[in-house]
């Protein structure tokens, strides 16, 4: 979890239990039932496994999260958690059925992830996915202690566009970084007179009619 900041979407997890015993009942091969069973069995490890207990305490102490079950803990790190069993050899119809279920589960998770990324404006095109993986590799081969910033990556791929909107945004970000303002109102308060003057300059340069007419109609000149 400490490896990344500004992540817009939590990943999905599908656990595939391969070579499952054929003598298990049909219920074991139902995704929802198998997921429920595995999570229920894992509840004990919250207290018995010291590594997992450390994560539980991290969320409990001073945080708002009340971690009571394995599912509660997993939801802190992942969007969804599913278990798919694939039987060992012999039951070929069942193998085929489970493989199809696995395929559907993967598609479902991909669609959900893509939808959330679209909403967060962090969806990746095919060529950007390669860039993202390469960027992650470059980052973590340089340091394992500094988290990967998804926001910085997103804007390296889609930089702030030129024009008045982008330039105001860049200047606002510069003011934030250089002066360390913790109050957004202060930044835009400073900007308002400068931006207004730039707008006036724009009109003088481009000679857009209306400004002087407006000034006259408003009794300003």
């Amino acid at each position: 979890m400490e490896c990344a900041t500004n992540q817009s979407v939590l990943p999905h997890v599908i656990v595939v239990l391969n070579k499952s015993n054929c003598s298990l009942g049909d219920e074991a091969y139902d995704i929802d039932a198998a997921t429920k069973k595995l999570l229920s069995d894992a509840n004990q490890s919250l207290t018995l496994n010291p590594d997992i207990d450390r994560h539980v305490q991290l969320w409990r102490q001073g945080h708002d999260k009340n971690i009571q079950t394995a599912e509660d803990l997993l939801k802190c790190y992942y969007s969804t958690f599913r278990v798919v069993r694939i039987p060992e050899k012999g039951r070929y119809m069942l193998i085929d059925q489970q493989v199809r279920k696995l395929q559907n589960a993967i598609s479902f998770c991909c669609r959900g992830s893509h939808r959330h990324k679209l909403q967060a404006r962090r969806d990746l095109k095919a060529e950007e996915l390669g860039e993202c993986l390469q960027s992650g590799l470059d980052h973590f081969t340089a340091s394992l202690d500094v988290p990967f910033d998804f926001l910085a990556f997103s804007w390296s791929q889609n930089p702030i566009p030129p024009g008045l909107e982008g330039n105001i945004l860049r200047l606002a970000l510069s003011i934030r970084d250089i002066r360390g303002f913790s109050n957004g109102q202060d930044i835009f308060q400073h900007l308002s007179q400068m931006v207004a003057s730039c707008i006036m300059l724009y009109y003088i340069r481009h000679r857009i009619r209306g400004i002087m007419g407006s000034c006259q109609s408003y009794g300003l000149i």
Binding site: M1, G62, D145, P162, E165, N183, G184, Q185, F188, R205
Partner: protein, 204 residues
């Protein structure tokens, strides 16, 4: 106000992007560690700059585009009106052989506004950009100055001394115009009527 309405989409767009994409969460842990995640990057809850989780919960901020938009619009409109009034008072003393009184007044007033703006923020030297002309926030910058600032062709025309239609000399940077540059900068601009020039070295 037509001036303002024309640029409103860009003005609102800048505010929206700043608040939605770039402004971090205001949450601070009991040990004083600040959350670094922004509104669109808050899936993992509150995290500090090391990535350590410091709390669970949604993005928090007192500064949102919806709550601040009205103030932003009011401040800009008031500033525009103020600038127009100031321009009326400026007598058009042409220092740089400017084409029109209007342009001279606008240039002089803008220099004053810029000077005050950057002084209030600790000096223009602290602000550098190759992607934005920090003088006018308009065109793409293309003319570097010895001070490190890069300005656009329009600012060269407006603030430089015209030697001809296309040749200008700048003795000071518009961003900190109260001090001369270490050396004057001669800038040649492509004439507006000049077409694209192509040099073909393909051997034919």
């Amino acid at each position: 106000m037509e001036t303002f309405e024309y640029h409103k989409p860009a003005l609102d767009g800048a505010l929206d992007q700043f608040c939605d994409i770039w402004w971090p969460c205001k949450y601070s842990s009991s040990k004083g560690r600040r959350c670094v995640n922004t509104r669109e990057g808050h899936a993992r809850g509150h995290q500090d700059e090391r990535g350590k989780p410091i709390g669970a919960g949604e993005y928090q901020s007192d500064f949102t585009s919806d709550t601040y938009r009205h103030t932003w619009h009011t401040n800009l409109r008031d500033s525009l009106v103020h600038i127009q009034k100031l321009m009326k008072r400026i007598s058009a003393v042409s220092i740089w052989n400017r084409q029109s009184d209007e342009a001279v007044k606008a240039a002089e007033q803008h220099l004053r506004t810029m000077s005050q703006f950057y002084q209030n923020l600790g000096g223009a030297a602290r602000f550098q950009s190759n992607a934005s002309c920090l003088s006018c926030l308009g065109d793409m910058p293309g003319h570097p100055l010895p001070c490190g600032h890069v300005i656009c062709s329009s600012c060269v025309r407006m603030f430089g001394e015209a030697q001809s239609q296309t040749a200008f000399v700048l003795n000071w940077c518009p961003l900190h115009n109260n001090e001369r540059l270490k050396r004057s900068v001669q800038i040649s601009l492509k004439p507006a009527s000049a077409g694209v020039r192509v040099l073909s070295l393909d051997g034919y």
